[in-house]
Symmetry: C2
Subunit: 621 residues, 2 copies
Amino acid sequence: MASAALSQESLYALQNKATQLRIESVRATSEAASGHPSSCCSAADIVATLFFSVMRYDPKNPKALNSDRFILSKGHAAPLLYAAWAEAGLFPKSDLLKLRTLASDLEGHPTPRLPFVDMATGSLGQGLPVGIGIALNAKSIDKLDHRTYVLMGDGESVEGSNWEAAEVARQYNLDNLCAIIDVNRLGQSDPTMLQHNMEGYRARWSGFGWHAIVVDGHDIAALVAAFDEAARTKGKPTVLLAKTFKGHGLSFMEDSPNWHGKPVPKGEETQKAIDELTKQLKPGNGTVHINPPAAATLPPATKTALPPSPYKVGDAAATREAFGVAFEALGSANSSVVGLDADVKNSTYTDKFGKKFPNRFLENFIAEQNMVGAAAGFAACGKVPFVATFAAFFTRAYDFIRMAAISQSNIKLVGTHVGVSIGEDGPSQMGLEDIAMMAAQPGVIVLYPSDATCTYRLVEAAANHKGMVYIRAGRPKSTVLYGPEETFPIGGSKVIRQSADDALTIVAAGVTLFEALKAYDQLKAAGIAVRVIDLYSIAPIDQATLIASARATHGRLLTVEDHYAHGGLGDAVLSAVSAEGVKVHKLAVRVIPHSGKPDELVDHFGIGARSIVEATRQIIK
Amino acid sequence: MASAALSQESLYALQNKATQLRIESVRATSEAASGHPSSCCSAADIVATLFFSVMRYDPKNPKALNSDRFILSKGHAAPLLYAAWAEAGLFPKSDLLKLRTLASDLEGHPTPRLPFVDMATGSLGQGLPVGIGIALNAKSIDKLDHRTYVLMGDGESVEGSNWEAAEVARQYNLDNLCAIIDVNRLGQSDPTMLQHNMEGYRARWSGFGWHAIVVDGHDIAALVAAFDEAARTKGKPTVLLAKTFKGHGLSFMEDSPNWHGKPVPKGEETQKAIDELTKQLKPGNGTVHINPPAAATLPPATKTALPPSPYKVGDAAATREAFGVAFEALGSANSSVVGLDADVKNSTYTDKFGKKFPNRFLENFIAEQNMVGAAAGFAACGKVPFVATFAAFFTRAYDFIRMAAISQSNIKLVGTHVGVSIGEDGPSQMGLEDIAMMAAQPGVIVLYPSDATCTYRLVEAAANHKGMVYIRAGRPKSTVLYGPEETFPIGGSKVIRQSADDALTIVAAGVTLFEALKAYDQLKAAGIAVRVIDLYSIAPIDQATLIASARATHGRLLTVEDHYAHGGLGDAVLSAVSAEGVKVHKLAVRVIPHSGKPDELVDHFGIGARSIVEATRQIIK
């Protein structure tokens, strides 16, 4: 056992590392005049034990393939993480004093701008789901023997996302995953619910099937032994429930409720604090040893273009079906592609991929937060994860999507069953705010194919694009408009009806594109020519075509979307032409919808051909 | 014990009710040609036991004050719920055949358009948090002796929100809350993780401190006994873990994985199914008895105007602080107002209210989903709940906000710490998509006060408005612009700088309003007059003033916001003037931001006075 091997000298050396981490956390936050030193101090012994005794990693290359991974889920303890990497030698300790400045990537909470951060944290309860993706990748896909450590706060352990992760980690026997809860008893504004009820924590985690070890989080020898026990525990994940004290090491701060998120004032008080910590340094010349990762190589990922689209003009297929077909083809074409589902795979058609590539498919069950977090974990391992569920249910994971956007994670989200056109299931199942929430995030590509050919090609484009992509897919079958040779660059659009005499341009996508085509026919029969644009790329948007079309059609645009009125396709169009003085009219769903038949609802909620024809007549009057 | 009292005749009568509920669920979904009969059949005995033996309620008045409440968290079993109320006599059984049509409010999933539904369900894992609000209201505020029953699915029990709720319900000893899990073993696309591992369920719920009873969910006598045991269990909530079979009662459907969300085909097959069920009807003339609720009255809620704002022009106060002051005053003025926090009350300043009105304040700890769900529960009891957290963390609860919007719930959300102007904490703590996500939901009022006076009055307006309201509040202190006599109607705006020669109108709110005022001064010094609008109401928006101002300033608008570019204040303005041919330029945060000093970040990310001046010069060139 590692603990037996820990000499007094080694123990002292580790304790000194912990003290050093405390000193640096206090000093950096003091210099920044903001931050969370007390939350660093409670976890300093845990982090010192991990970084300087337990973990195998390359301190000069945090992304080394087989390195153990460390995720600081309690992201507000960032100074502790930064101090650990500085102590490990990745960068000069003097950089720590740039904490929280615009000039440094040592931000208030960790982001992957730093090479040793896999995913941004700071919104609590996100580290464990990310750890699942990383651990599952190691266990089931890349067959690497590294371990994944996730350090959580006790306050954050109430976040439901952790319990989604707990269930999924148990289900997949992730014995290469080790969570540590820094049970320091104090939240931001109150003691935590369970305070130091360590048996209460044990009952919860054991109840969820984890191996749970209660340990004194300030006893480094005990921590070493506990991590060793964790590594020897097979078939299930382990959690260390570490009893600690917030602000440990500083007499004025320890276990005090008044020190959350407060730096020690700069000057005399900081010096006093550092003096108190310095006195705790143990004698002796013991040094720590960082265990190197085992050598590992991976076969190169294979990647080829998708075969031609199997769809012919005039076929009938739902875009969600075409996604499923394309995704299965993508599985063969690109060995890095991974799929994630939350028990709707027979509705989103990811079941096709899942059956063919079971070891690259995570059935995550009904836990959307964990699903998106795990996807970000896979992405941090170089995978290209596709996450598919009903568009409405991505609202459940919006905070995870937000943090993935902050992390500029390479995840792909596919939201099916959008809009009132799903019909009978009613408003709870209708994705009507998905464009708003996805397009709000900088850098997220938002795609909205109308037919199967376009869907097929956009799935390929999404996989090839480095960064987050959202694809919006519908439930009902629609007619295939494009032949297999058609191309759909991200940021493009298709002008599918036009003449020299167009009175107005209709911009649509998805079911409303077909309504626009119906309206086109009806208007044509009445002698009114209109232009129709298939806006398959919402972000980025084809500004040039929109402006040119508006200019060619008397400066009039009519947008139609199966989405709520704010933040949707219409607003994206408005924004693109806003400096042109163009008149834009939006048709969108403006009230809470209702169950009913798809066609009936499209008409009833004002986004059908009838409404388009009426609006057109009104506008051109 | 109730079970002892259950005669054979009564048992038969209850069993017949269950069979009847199955018949009606099959018939209605068959008629609708969509829906989830198998998920109704597994829970039919549970629902029959509750509605016709256990619950005390008025079948003609579902909103009777002291009625036991029933929440169908597994909303896809809606036909079962509808059948129970029809059997209870609330409406004719013939209405059940209008299921899922536009003409009926018996939608695919329940919504509060129906008088017996407190909150829309159908997005899984939301019933229990809502139940917490209702149970806590009964226990701590209104002191009613009704009980709250929440029927959940086994698949949905993985949703983390349930475990947030489990922890909070235990913390507050909600022994008037009873959850039932219909453990029917089968999800939509796969068996559930735990299948029929009933002891696994027990370990989880017991581990979370609940009284857990494993029961045969098709044994009505056992169910009656279990509900009785639940009612007698004091000091903690109870969960019934009911082992059931999906499709129970129909030989071709029972325990089959191929019957999720599938109606029995209309015609012969439906008739066969109904015949099979009809044969299960027991002999005898036993009847069921619905227990009436105990009488109860509540003192009328007080509702008065707030005292004058304590702020004077020129004072310095953050809008989050002013919210805290107003909210405390509101607590005195209106006894229906309730507060909810997720361990940031000393940052959002709801601690003032919490200290003064502890019995109307739920410290929910770090569990934002449960917090919003519980707020909707309070609202369903006639309370006016204010939920405050960092705006960024409302993304965690977006699905709950979405479902509250579908429910047209009377909850008020206050998001503090918006935008890059929070500074050093970095992007994870910056609310930059909150306007997009809130304004996308139809009917949600979105308010964005810039100073303390406006904040104070808008908190009052939010309380007086019937429906969902979101108030966006900032972290840094700002100068008070308005005197206590100023009024701020919802949907209004303030033109705070104007002249006859304005070259352009700047529209802003929050920190950017002050940047606009700085830019105004700088431009004025350079001989350029601009108009400045304080757009404190984003939805609804003051379209008339925006259009009039645009017309008066050469058709030029410049919007500036501490929010991402898509779906924010700028897009709301664009949408309001879109039919006018006005030119609108948007300044907003267009990339993932970074830690730094607030002023520095406002400037760096292009929303400060410097950018406003530059943009103005560019536009008017």
